[in-house]
């Protein structure tokens, strides 16, 4: 589901556009929910290595943010989400996804629990109409905070030290904890990179001041402002899926059967069939043991990124495709996310091959690259979970 942007209107400035503009040597902007967002500010290599080795700052303000308040907020969200959200503690953040009535994933996101009757949902897709639909019959109030709350992703091994230098003590925060470190400034130990990192949330109009504060604090810790391309590298190394790339949000598809169930996306652990009714549960009961395809993390032979490649079983039968692929600088592997049809995903996966197109000095060619399934993330450093975190 892409937001329609009026071509006459053009892209809108985000809350820290003056700072990004000043840093942008690449002048590479893309449309993120109508905002001009940096794909790259300098070069993707510099930015990626800052993220993995030092600290990186990425403006995530274009994410959609919704506040759900009211006595029945928990019940309403539990009916909408596939996981049992009552298990998310106060001042905790939960990764969650939600489905349509056919059990197809609509989107995923992070759910912040401020209190039993006060939650925030942060997600990639516009979700206001869906939330209003989901809220009907419940005593809750939904507010679209997308333009009121700004957010930065501060990610990388030295980010704890950056925040400490800024005067914010987050040493007690475990992964998925959150705390208000100053009036109006919320820090959650969350992120989309699989590394040590935090997300900082603040009123839209305070964003520039907060950016400057973090920027000053990060000076000694190698802090760099980055664009989406570096984040995309990191998220793939962490094995995270991107909506619209690795799965099609069900409500944004026009063709039949383009949606996928959480089981097919490898999120079975986030579906709690025993928690009572939730949206799509009846369909998911049937779909649970009959996935049509599965998402596999694979190591692709060679070094050519396999994005967009078709997958063949025994080099003959077409059984799937690759949605994201990358030569991982940190894992030192050619990694990819592969959608493979059943039953081929289940049987002898060593016989799966990606047909990769190569272009060498004007000459196109194809070659078959063997896929080796991998369990778990491609890169999962222990520093991401250490509490208190190391300074570097």
């Amino acid at each position: 589901m892409s937001l329609f942007v009026d071509p006459k209107l053009g892209l809108i400035d985000g809350p820290v556009q003056p700072r990004l503009e000043a840093q942008s040597r690449a002048k590479s902007w893309y449309d993120w929910a109508g905002y001009a967002a940096p794909a790259v500010l300098d070069t993707v290599e510099f930015e990626y290595f800052a993220l993995r080795n030092q600290a990186s700052l990425f403006d995530v303000s274009p994410m959609h943010k919704y506040r759900i308040r009211g006595p029945q907020a928990q019940a309403m969200l539990n009916r909408m989400m596939t996981r049992d959200i009552t298990k998310i503690g106060t001042n905790r953040v939960g990764y969650t996804l939600w489905c349509d009535e056919e059990g197809m994933v609509i989107d995923d996101g992070t759910l912040f629990r401020f209190a039993d009757d006060d939650w925030r949902l942060c997600c990639q897709e516009q979700m206001l109409t869906w939330l209003l639909d989901a809220a009907w019959g419940f005593d809750v109030e939904i507010t679209d905070e997308s333009k009121e709350v700004a957010g930065f992703a501060l990610q990388g091994p030295s980010t704890f030290a950056v925040l400490e230098s800024a005067g914010w003590d987050v040493s007690a925060l475990r992964p998925f904890d959150m705390a208000e470190v100053a009036p109006g400034i919320l820090i959650s130990r969350t992120g989309f990179t699989g590394d040590l990192g935090y997300e900082i949330w603040m009123p839209w109009d305070d964003a520039l001041a907060v950016w400057d504060k973090i920027w000053a604090a990060g000076d000694l810790w190698g802090l760099r402002a980055i664009g989406y391309e570096a984040v995309d590298y990191a998220r793939l190394e962490a094995g995270f899926l991107t909506a619209g790339v690795d799965f099609q949000p069900a409500r944004g598809t026009e063709r039949l059967h383009r949606g996928l169930t959480p089981y097919e996306l490898g999120f079975g652990r986030l579906v709690h069939l025993d928690k009572g009714h939730f949206n799509g549960r009846r369909a998911l009961l049937k779909a649970k043991d009959a996935p049509r395809s599965v998402v596999m993390k694979v190591d692709v032979e060679g070094f050519k990124p396999a994005k967009g490649a078709l997958i063949y079983h025994r080099k003959k039968r077409e059984v799937g495709h690759i949605t994201s692929g990358l030569w991982s600088p940190t894992a030192k592997r050619n990694i990819a996310l592969a959608h493979v049809q059943m039953p081929w995903a289940g049987k002898r996966p060593s016989d799966l091959w990606a047909e990769i197109y190569t272009l060498e000095e004007g000459k196109w060619d194809t070659r078959m690259a063997r896929l080796t399934p991998i369990q778990g993330a491609f890169f999962a450093p222990p520093r991401a979970r250490a509490t208190p975190p190391a300074r570097i």
Binding site: A75, M76, R79, M80, D100, E101, W130, D133, A134, W136, G137, F138, D274, G276, H277, N279, G280, R281, R282
Partner: protein, 505 residues
């Protein structure tokens, strides 16, 4: 207290559902919120007609399956003649398919009317195959018993359709989705006869004769031959007969027992809780009230978000008010030599009059020149269906609004029933909001959901709930909001009960 099945609501559909389940070997309890059975068919204190007042769609199939006589109803049905009132000339009297003028002379359009009517009855016969039984379609595997049965039924309806010759088929498909106004005026001049048909096409609905799909609702009324009948002993006799069938089948009937909640365990029905606080354990609940109200009883969170959205968007606006007149002295119909009783007087001088009567309803106003179906039960008792009296009347149905409706109605009838206004001893006005409060019919709508093409068959009451089961396991809709709709037919109740029995097997 524990039952195999609990039925919510003791209208005709509720009683039929209860009887079918009980005859299928289930221990059944029926809960009715009011102090009497019958729902919209429930009689007034005199046993006459409080709300519904005529029968034309009672299903013989239902009669057989609830254990009444295989060949006839246990009450006597008297065919009712229709009088299409004419402000500028002789009224038109319709007996069966024969239309003649009130003075006994031949109606110039008698033959055209007979042909048109006959055609509609033929089409209705085809469509009845769709009404009897659940909506068509095979959901399970073809090799299953129910799949084969469904295939057999499809085949039978297909054969029936195939027997129609090509030009007739073309006409059938042409007119099925069209509007009654065009269809009627293709064959008849606009006058009382055309007006009467137009009024019949829209009665009970939020539609005018020019609204699409009104040919379908006209055909729907003719599903069982189109004959309008009045039961001897009034509606009381009908309700007593259905109640008797339920009693005989062993149904435990409880009055003054409204249902507050349907209780669930996980994703299945566990019990119902009455407004009195009693908990009755059961694994199966069939509700004959509105679909949305039923969903509220079980809790909105027991339904998918899309299902809840569809339920709250069901189009259901009642437009008919009921006025029951008791007179101090006999009043006869001007210009009618034969003092017919019972007689159905239709005030709809032209099809255009009916369309214009509908216009105010779009703006939440009552018709100043209403369409009236007046059943003359005897010379001193009239039962009136007054249309359009929209449920969502601007300003609400206050006493003043009711007085206005009464006055508008009486003055509309005055030219045809001289002396009526002075002879009124009692005029009880029952508006759609009252019908909803008393019977649980959403919007005070007879069919619990507008009988429109987007709300029929598997789309009734809403997509995904077309096979009576809705939401949690064990919950069924058995009222007029389910396929094939209302009209004191009993088929929705019968089909829902059969669906529930099928699951229990």
């Amino acid at each position: 207290m524990s039952f195999d099945a609990v039925i919510i609501g003791g209208g005709i559909n509720g009683l039929v559902a209860a009887s079918v389940l009980a005859r299928g070997g289930k221990k059944v309890c029926l809960l009715e919120q009011s102090g009497h059975l019958g729902g919209l068919a429930a009689p007034g204190p005199d046993g006459g007609a409080r709300m519904a007042h005529l029968l034309y769609n009672l299903s013989p199939l239902v009669r057989r399956e609830i254990g009444m006589d295989a060949h006839k109803w246990p009450f006597k049905l008297t065919p009712v003649s229709t009088v299409a009132l004419n402000p500028d000339g002789p009224h038109v009297v319709i007996r069966g398919q024969k239309a003649q003028l009130a003075d006994g002379s031949a109606h110039p359009e008698a033959e055209a009317y007979r042909q048109l009517n006959g055609q509609l009855i033929r089409y209705a016969d085809i469509l009845r195959g769709l009404a009897e039984g659940g909506p068509l379609g095979i959901e399970g595997r073809l090799s299953s018993i129910s799949g084969l049965k469904e295939l057999w039924r499809l085949g039978r309806i297909g054969r029936k359709l195939k027997r129609i010759d090509k030009s007739e088929m073309r006409r059938f498909l042409q007119m099925l989705l069209s509007n009654a106004y065009d269809l009627i005026l293709d064959d008849l001049k606009d006058g009382p006869l055309a007006g009467m048909m137009a009024a019949d096409a829209v009665r009970g609905g939020f539609a005018g004769p020019r609204s699409p799909g009104t040919v379908f609702s006209l055909i729907y009324r003719m599903g069982h031959g189109g004959e309008v009948t009045w039961p001897e002993g009034g509606m009381g006799a009908v309700v007593t007969a259905f109640e008797g069938a339920a009693q005989k089948a062993g149904v435990d009937i409880r009055l003054n027992a409204g249902v507050a909640r349907i209780l669930l365990a996980g994703d299945r029905v566990r019990a119902v809780e009455t407004t009195g606080g009693d908990v009755i354990e059961t694994k199966t609940v069939l509700s004959s009230t509105g679909a949305l109200r039923t969903a509220h009883m079980a809790g909105v969170d027991a339904f998918d978000i899309e299902a809840a959205r569809r339920l709250r968007n069901i189009r259901v606006k009642g437009t008919v008010a009921k006025i029951n007149l008791t007179l101090t002295k006999p009043v006869s119909v001007a210009g009618l030599t034969d003092d017919m009783c019972p007689a159905r007087l239709v005030l709809a001088p032209t099809a255009e009059y009916v369309e214009r009567a509908f216009n105010p309803a779009k703006y939440r106003q009552m018709s100043e020149a209403p369409v009236i179906e007046a059943l003359r039960i005897d010379a001193q008792t009239f039962s009136l269906m007054v249309q359009y009296a929209p449920v969502d009347l601007d300003g609400g149905w206050t006493d003043a609004a009711k007085d206005k409706l009464r006055a508008v109605t009486l003055s509309a009838l005055a030219p045809y029933l001289p002396g009526l206004e002075d002879a009124v001893a009692q005029a009880e006005v029952i508006t759609p909001d009252q019908i909803e409060a008393e019977t649980g019919a959403p919007g005070g709508h007879w069919h619990h959901a507008e009988m429109a093409l987007d709300q029929l068959l598997t789309l009734r009451p809403a997509n995904g709930m077309g096979r009576y089961a809705m939401g949690p396991e064990g919950l069924y809709l058995c009222g007029a909001g389910a396929h094939p709709g209302g009209d004191l037919m009993g088929l929705a109740g019968r089909n829902a009960a059969r669906a529930a029995l099928e699951v229990g097997k």
